[in-house]
């Protein structure tokens, strides 16, 4: 069983499409890696795989080895140099930054790495999707991982049923299955679909590790005023209704979109404050595209937000295993 190298499996779910499951998965993976954990990301969205694009590795191909597939490496375990722009350095409260950051290895698996052309449609009915999901769970040769994040398509259908069936069939995997992070956006239309996903978790006995409210507000880069583009607060209310933990809200950050879309190192106008912390303004105005994704992500306003999420998740998951 190739999953035996993995300590904890975390699913990223949402009933609604386009709420940012892949974006949240990417950031959780980067944040875990920045805390020194080794992370794998498995993308089981077969008809619309986005993970290769998010990690900027669309050209990569899966390699075959005796006994299975070798996932695509995003970066190896290493120590990143200290940055003067790192978050927290502004208030002078991050002494560990000056010694550099130890990051864990990160690798990905997606159907996108197998398709010959990126624009090709994968037109598959349920049984074929089931077979592929099962293959992804049994035939991928993951290295030793602290966390495997599973990014899913929207809904509660073939991929989800197959995923859980396969994971719950082996008792070992059941112990490894830490639970699910459920992603939503604040507006009622998304919430009503995501409630279905929470009921799916209840029915299948998957523990909800927490709800993340994505796209909560947008800070205008011109006037720094925050506008709730997709309303606000719905995620927290829903978490309370279903008695599951609420991890927090994530605002829309155009710098993160730029980082994903074009690989540009995040920069912020003077005086931008996110979550009570002032972000450092860069002296040079040149757009820089050099460096590893994880290195550049350290300067994103969302990095501390996700740092908190994963610290909480890891603490919760590890405490449960110890108990």
């Amino acid at each position: 069983m190739p999953l035996e190298n993995i300590s904890h499996i975390v699913l990223v779910l949402s009933g609604k499409g386009g709420v940012g499951k892949s974006s949240i998965t990417t950031q959780l993976a980067l944040a875990l890696s920045l805390q020194g954990k080794s992370v794998g990301v498995l993308d089981i969205d077969l008809t619309g795989p986005s993970i290769p694009r998010f990690f900027g590795i669309e050209q990569s191909r899966v390699k075959q080895a005796p006994g299975g597939w070798i996932p695509v490496e995003v970066h190896a375990e290493q120590t990143l140099p200290a940055t003067q722009h790192a978050d927290g350095a502004a208030n002078g409260t991050a002494p560990q930054q000056s010694y550099g950051t130890r990051v864990g290895a990160l690798s990905c698996m997606s159907l996108g790495f197998i398709l010959p052309n990126r624009g090709d449609a994968v037109i598959w009915r349920g049984p074929k999707k089931t077979a592929m999901v099962r293959q992804f769970l049994t035939d991928v040769l993951w290295p030793e991982l602290d966390f495997l994040l599973v990014d899913t398509p929207p809904g509660t259908s073939d991929e989800h049923i197959s995923l859980l069936e396969t994971l719950l069939k082996t008792t070992a995997a059941t112990a490894q299955l830490a639970g699910a992070v459920v992603v939503t956006t604040p507006q009622a239309i998304a919430i009503s679909d995501v409630k279905k996903e929470l009921n799916f978790c209840t029915k299948t006995g998957v523990r909800v590790l927490g709800v993340v409210e994505n796209m909560a507000g947008f800070v205008c880069p011109n006037c720094s005023e925050c506008c709730n583009v997709f309303s606000k607060g719905g995620g927290e209310v829903m978490a309370k209704d279903f008695n599951v933990p609420f991890l927090g809200s994530v605002p829309i950050d155009p710098a993160f979109v730029m980082l994903v879309e074009e690989g540009v190192r995040p920069t912020y106008p003077k005086g931008t404050v996110v979550g009570g912390k002032a972000l450092v303004e860069r002296e040079e105005s040149v757009e820089s595209k050099d460096g590893l994704l994880v290195d550049k992500y350290r300067e994103c306003s969302l990095a501390p937000v996700f740092g908190e999420f994963v610290a909480r998740l890891a603490g919760d998951v590890e405490a449960r295993v110890a108990a």
């Binding site: 592929m132 099962r134 239309i189 009503s192 879309e261």
Partner: protein
Amino acid sequence: MAPSLEEPVQVDLNAPLKAAPKLVAPEPEHCPGPESEQAGVADNCAGCPNQKICASAPKGPDPDIPVITERLASVRHKILVLSGKGGVGKSTFSTMLSHAFASNPSLTVGLMDTDICGPSIPKMMGVEEETIHVSAEGWEPVWVSENLGVMSVQFMLPGRDDAVIWRGAKKNGLIKKFLMEVRWGEMDMLIVDTPPGTSDEHLSVNSFLKSSGVDGAVLVSTPQEVSLLDVRKEIDFCRKAKIPILGIVENMSGFVCPGCKHESQIFRASTGGAKRLAADEKIPFLGAVPLDPRIGMACDFGESFLDAYPESPACKAIRHVVRRVAEEIGMQDDVLDREE
């Protein structure tokens, strides 16, 4: 056994569907599909408990397809709303399209929600609490107004938040019922809203409607490449399935800050957006609709954005897109009020 790295096999989109037999066990891996011509005789069928049932089921096209074709004979235009990506505004656009066409009292419009696991249409239409009435002639759609009828799985759920944990085959069965059992009646337009992706629901809608004739598909995308990537797949699907593409709409393009009126590209079109994609793929570009937080709010409250904010730039953009859709399917241009 090492897994193969072969190119994924595509389903045959032109093969006629036959009626799916009742199975005794869940479909196994690599099942050709109980409704395919290969059912029961394909290599992968060996050892499957359903093999005999599939092999002995009557061959030939699904006898229900003529029934569907007859049911829909009185529906003049059929439009699919597609996107490879989720959350780009397929359902929002479907409701806008329906409201816009239904604003002409002489037209009758139907809206069918084929998103079985995440139905949004009833809430957006403000009819979430309704249920379906069944009569001897079939299922009655839920009427939002005198000339706008809606059908969705949401109307059939005992609890509003119940999860619909269904595999593909079961979803296909319900979509067929929506087309076969629902009394759509005399209609000028049937708009079919779909879930994201290119899977069971899309294949079924395509094969069930093939003989009744679909006017075409409207593709919805947001400007950023992560979304366009999936829309390219949907274009590929439409071409393979021979569904005409009426055009592509770019949604959430640009956001005007209500405070300082500065326009930001929240979902930045780093690769030229939907307009560039349309030009590359030689399909019509129907227009761009800006991101307006009031659209989302109108949807949350089940109101028509077009009626609530007729003067907003977003509303004007939507009306332009609707007019372009009407042009593409050859409706007279007096369907909507002329642009002032």
